[in-house]
């Protein structure tokens, strides 16, 4: 096995595939299937949201008023822009523009971090105002039907929390890609991993596209 002397770039084709196209198709199908599992996972949360919102829509609307619409909108814009940079990164990888790829991956990561930062700021805001009914913290609700309002904030923290966790995982994968691309280790097969990571990143974005109206906009201001 160690007979080869000339150091050659490792072939991007894994031994068990017949050709590179088969390998790419397998990778993409795998990611799509994984996204199906993610839909089912988030589906449980959306189901719980639907059930408790239909029990008391007014309380959910009132609780929704307490969320910061401005920062929520900013975050939506930030995340959608990160999807754009991610798509451009995939394009750059396909056309072998390494510098552009590095810049775009970095931009995606920065936007992702900005999103997490703003989210953290919002969480802190809720904590100060007594709207974080977690771990026995006091829940100070002065309106009607405090129970359902509390459920709204429970769901708010659950859903955005799980979403943020997915963002963090995405950021980790992007970092790994960035390091690898920086070392030039993606020779010959730049595009596939970037494209597949992109699928995941866009999915996490789309989840937010559903979360934003369900959590921030139902107050019908």
């Amino acid at each position: 096995m160690r007979i080869e002397t000339a150091p050659r770039a490792p072939s991007p084709l894994a031994h068990h595939f017949d050709d590179i196209q088969q390998q790419h198709e397998a990778g993409e199908l795998g990611m799509w299937l994984f996204l199906c599992t993610e839909i089912m996972f988030f589906g449980g949360l959306f189901l719980a949201y639907t059930i408790y919102r239909t029990q008391d829509e007014a309380a959910f609307a009132a609780a929704s008023h307490e969320l910061d619409l401005f920062w929520g909108t900013v975050n939506t814009a930030v995340l959608l822009t990160s999807s754009l940079t991610m798509a451009l990164a995939a394009h750059a990888a396909e056309s072998f523009q390494r510098k552009q790829l590095l810049a775009l991956l970095a931009a995606t990561m920065v936007l992702g971090c900005v999103f997490i930062g703003i989210k953290g700021m919002e969480y802190h805001h809720k904590y100060i105002h007594g709207l974080m009914p977690l771990m026995g913290l006091p829940f100070e609700w002065h309106g009607a039907s405090s129970g359902h309002a509390e459920m709204f904030f429970d769901l708010y923290f659950l859903m955005t929390g799980v979403h943020a966790l997915h963002m963090l995982i995405g950021l980790g994968v992007l970092l790994a890609l960035l390091v690898k691309a920086n070392r030039g280790g993606l020779q010959g097969d730049f595009a596939a991993p970037v494209r597949i990571t992109g699928l995941y990143w866009h999915f996490v974005d789309i989840v937010w596209v559903f979360l934003f109206p369900l959590l921030y906009l139902i107050g019908a201001r």
Partner: protein
């Protein structure tokens, strides 16, 4: 499908390295990405869990020999049946056929060199082991007493046992199941050998595909349910807690949305195994190939629409109950299609009763019993009477043990020569298969009667008039235990002293029999080309009447 001329060439196996002799170090096993070695890793670990789960059941059955609570404390009893359920369901039955036989056989049947994602495959085993460690920790630290169903609010609020560690263990193990299913679907779509069209696939592949769909779509829902239980215990987010405005019934909905399909994760692969064994030992193509294939998908689809039949007495609306009842009846149709097709396959076949065939026939009988009593409990009114009694326990053991485990053991025996290159001792194996069949029926048939008479499940003490039936059940369990002990012994024995297996000892159809036993690391010397249907037994027997492809 196999052509005898190539089979003659591969039987000369001395110069080739097979997957077992590719490396002998621990490292070469723990870092392997070879699907066959990963299957062996799974085989060892699920066998370990089977023994642990079996020991828990042994103590339960011993204790139930008398009406009083005399062998263990009542709390221990609760922990024992919980441990039995959790381990057998999540750590043995669900991974059993997919992760062991599926991992080993699927790429071989497809003529592929490996699964699509070999490293994910290895990761899935590590994930499984990690989840297992959490659960074993929970058991050693003091156990968990919620039953394997973790019903809230007991699990989320009241139980003082190691619910979190167990839930985390199951949550983690779920990912192993997801990765396995995902890997199979991609492999079946993208890596079939040239000429291997969908309708030339072995029926085992159809079953595994249907199973994988359930794994991929169902397991995440279990994950989110357990996640929410965990969040309730850790953060006080009361999704299921009535005091916090939550609804405990929602947990039951979410839990059974996974856990009912999970029953089909256990039974569908067994059906696939039986669909391989029966044609081989009656030397005939299966009757109604496409019906058997498509009924697997029908079962997978229906499986997601029947969860409400677990909630007939939980306060679910009566109209929902009626719909779920009808939908549950619908599952009987594809199941019966399979049973009738297997039976019809035997017609005018030249049947022989080797061990795998004994298990397969046992499967058909026991599965029919389990399935028919499933209709009893799917009927709204009858279910009110038998809900949470031993009737339910007997019903699902006929499916999960009489069905899934019989299929698993049949498959292990059928593919043992391929996996190890050795033949198991046929006499002992037949004896054990019969012992298991007898022991199984003696264990669980009395439980039908017990349940119908009104003995609730999970009870530690019971009225004296139930003792005779309970003693019968425990006696049967000891025979069953002996029946499981024999294969464990003689299969290990056969690794050293078993006869060397030829590439195709059963003269079976299927690409996996066209390579050496055990197969080389890359499975095939060159990628096979498929030109014919999957079960062309008349052709195999016609070309070489004696000796076949060996």
């Amino acid at each position: 499908m196999p052509s005898p001329s190539t089979a003659g060439a591969v039987s000369n196996r001395t110069p080739k390295r097979d997957y077992l002799s590719a490396g002998y170090t621990v490292r070469s096993w723990l870092l392997t990405t070879d699907h066959k070695r990963i299957a062996i890793l799974y085989l060892l670990s699920i066998t370990l869990f089977f023994v642990i789960g079996g020991l828990a059941a042994t103590v339960v059955r011993l204790d139930l020999m008398t009406p009083q609570a005399d062998l263990v404390e009542t709390e221990t009893f609760n922990k024992l049946f919980t441990a039995h359920g959790v381990i057998m369901v999540f750590f043995f039955l669900i991974p059993s056929i997919p992760a062991v036989l599926g991992n080993f056989i699927v790429p071989l049947m497809l003529g592929a060199r490996d699964l699509a994602f070999p490293r994910l495959n290895l990761l899935s085993w590590y994930v499984y082991v990690l989840g297992g460690l959490f659960t074993v920790y929970a058991l050693l630290a003091g156990g968990v007493d919620t039953g394997w169903t973790f019903y809230a609010p007991y699990s989320s609020t009241y139980s003082n046992t190691y619910v979190m560690a167990t839930a985390v263990g199951i949550f983690i193990t779920g990912f192993s199941s997801i990765l396995t299913g995902l890997n199979f679907i991609v492999t079946i779509h993208k890596m079939r050998a040239p000429g291997l069209t969908w309708f030339r696939l072995p029926l085992f592949i159809w079953s595994i595909y249907a199973t994988s769909i359930i794994m991929v779509l169902g397991t995440p829902v279990l994950a989110i349910s357990l996640f929410l239980v965990g969040m309730e215990r850790l953060l006080g987010i009361g999704i299921f807690d009535p005091r916090l405005g939550g609804d405990p019934i929602l947990f039951q909905h979410l839990f059974w949305f996974y856990s009912h399909p999970a029953v089909y994760i256990m039974i569908l692969p067994s059906m696939g195994v039986v669909s391989e064994i029966i044609p081989c030992f009656c030397r005939k193509r299966p009757f109604g190939y496409s019906f058997i294939g498509f009924s697997s998908f029908a079962i997978a689809v229906f499986s997601f629409l029947v969860w409400g039949h677990h909630l007939f007495v939980s306060g679910q609306s009566i109209y929902a109950g009626m719909v779920f009842s009808i939908l549950s009846y619908l599952v009987a149709i594809p199941s019966a299609v399979k049973v009738f097709n297997w039976t019809a396959s035997l017609h005018k076949g030249s049947i022989s009763f080797e061990t795998p065939m004994l298990y397969a026939l046992g499967f058909v009988g026991l599965f029919t019993m389990g399935g028919l009593t499933g209709l009893f409990v799917a009927a709204l009114a009858v279910d009110v009477h038998v809900h949470d009694t031993y009737f339910i326990v007997a019903h699902f053991h006929y499916i999960m043990v009489g069905g899934a485990v019989m299929g698993y053991l049949g498959g292990i025996h059928f593919w043992w020569p391929k996996m190890t290159g050795r033949l198991y001792p046929e006499g002992w194996a037949r004896f054990s298969a019969i012992l298991i069949f007898v022991g199984f029926n003696l264990t669980f048939f009395p439980q039908y009667i017990l349940g119908y008479l009104g003995m609730p499940r999970r009870y530690h003490v019971y009225p004296e008039e139930f003792q005779v039936l309970n003693v019968m059940s425990s006696a049967g369990a000891s025979i069953l235990g002996l029946g499981y002990f024999f294969p464990l012994t003689y299969l290990i024995w056969s690794l050293m002293y078993g006869k060397i297996a030829s590439p195709n000892p059963w003269r079976a159809a299927g690409l996996e029999w066209q390579t050496t036993s055990p197969p080389p690391t890359d499975n095939f010397a060159e990628t096979p080309v498929v030109v014919d249907e999957a079960y062309d037994y008349q052709h195999i027997d016609g070309v070489s009447p004696a000796g076949g492809a060996t």
